[in-house]
Amino acid sequence: MKLTLRVWRQKNADAEGAMSTYEVDDISPDMSFLEMLDVLNEQLILSGEEPVAFDHDCREGICGACSLVINGDAHGPERTTTCQLHMRSFRDGDTIDIEPWRASAFPVIKDLVVDRSAFDRIIQAGGYVTAPTGSAPEAHATPVPKADADFAFEHAECIGCGACVAACPNGAAMLFTSAKVNHLNVLPQGAPERETRVLDMVAQMDAEGFGGCTLTGECATACPKGIPLVSITSMNKEWLRATRKAGKR
């Protein structure tokens, strides 16, 4: 395959960025999108140019490191992570636009790499359970109803890649935060912090400068792990419940 790539290049956080055009040839349809970028970078290094910086790690769709907006879609045209996107999803001769996640809470560090530590701070605010350290507790000591376990697992699938923020026209982190809140709030292990978790995580989300939810549904469409839009509804419900309880105290 022969492709024209238009890639966002930006020297550092303070520099002005712009789209640069590159040609790549001999791309196999079996290559992953990141392997295609590896080919581009080898080409750039050989010609003495600065390679394109992009985030990647496990390359098997479970770590949440890769983060590219491809032709206007977070993670590209397939519902998966960028690393699991293959070149067979494109056609020979295509022009592909590659941009970083766009949100003021995710500033660009270099080229296609953005700073997602805002997510870490949301997790720090309440994405944990109080558990005594030491040996692992007996698995059957705390019964969890099957439906709750399924609900928790569905939300635990969130890999924190930030595609929801990138896709949201408001740069909102509601889907991410709701996945983390719902995952722990439904389980008995998460019950002690049920109220403080949702209040603190939403407060931190606001403090990081993420936008609000207008229920466009772009986040759930972009999510490679299929976190549903209704997760946000569940979190709103938890937030209202916690606010009511906090008011009574």
């Binding site: 003021s104 949201c168 709103n236």
Partner: protein, 223 residues
Amino acid sequence: MARTLWDSSVGKKTVMAVSGVIMLLYLVAHMIGNLKIYFGAGEFNHYAHWLRTVGEPFMHYEWTLWLIRIVLVVAVVAHATSAYQLSRRDIKARPSKYVHKKPRASYATRTMRWGGVILGLFIVWHLLDLTTGTVHSGGFQEGHPYQNVVDTFSTWYGDVIYIVAMLALGLHIRHGFWSAAQTLGVGSRSRDRALKTLANVLALLLTAGFIAVPVGVMTGVVS
């Protein structure tokens, strides 16, 4: 609790949802009342007069009406203020656009902000036209709403402004009602289809019901 509500983006959305539902309930009553215009000047004017005497003798003349007006003003101000503040926040959160643009979201979703502004301006015109009579076409007659309505919809601009605003209202309710349900935590996977259908039915009924009045005047059924 009030502070937490107003300080949080989720709380402000709650304010929007509750004020939106209050306005929606009012609109349903307003629309049903409007349809009495099809039963002649007598019944319509009698209905309009009754609105001022609701609750008597417990309530004094027009007390109930003013109570409703106060609730509505509070709802409109709360709705608009939170919408403005949330929109400012949203725009700030996404300062740079993507180079590769794609058509996003449904028309109803994309027009919420501008649609809301249009509806706000419409309410101002509507009150000046048919409540105070300040910008009314022809002589505004206090206590003769039937004639006033016929006068307004006998002008082309009266019809255009009203019909455009009611179409904007339909779109606003279509996304707004369903969104309010999500914000208030009422939505769920099993209820989603029912809520979306209800939003569409409400939007359609309200738009059709309101537009029926200018259509009646334009076709000569109401004169």
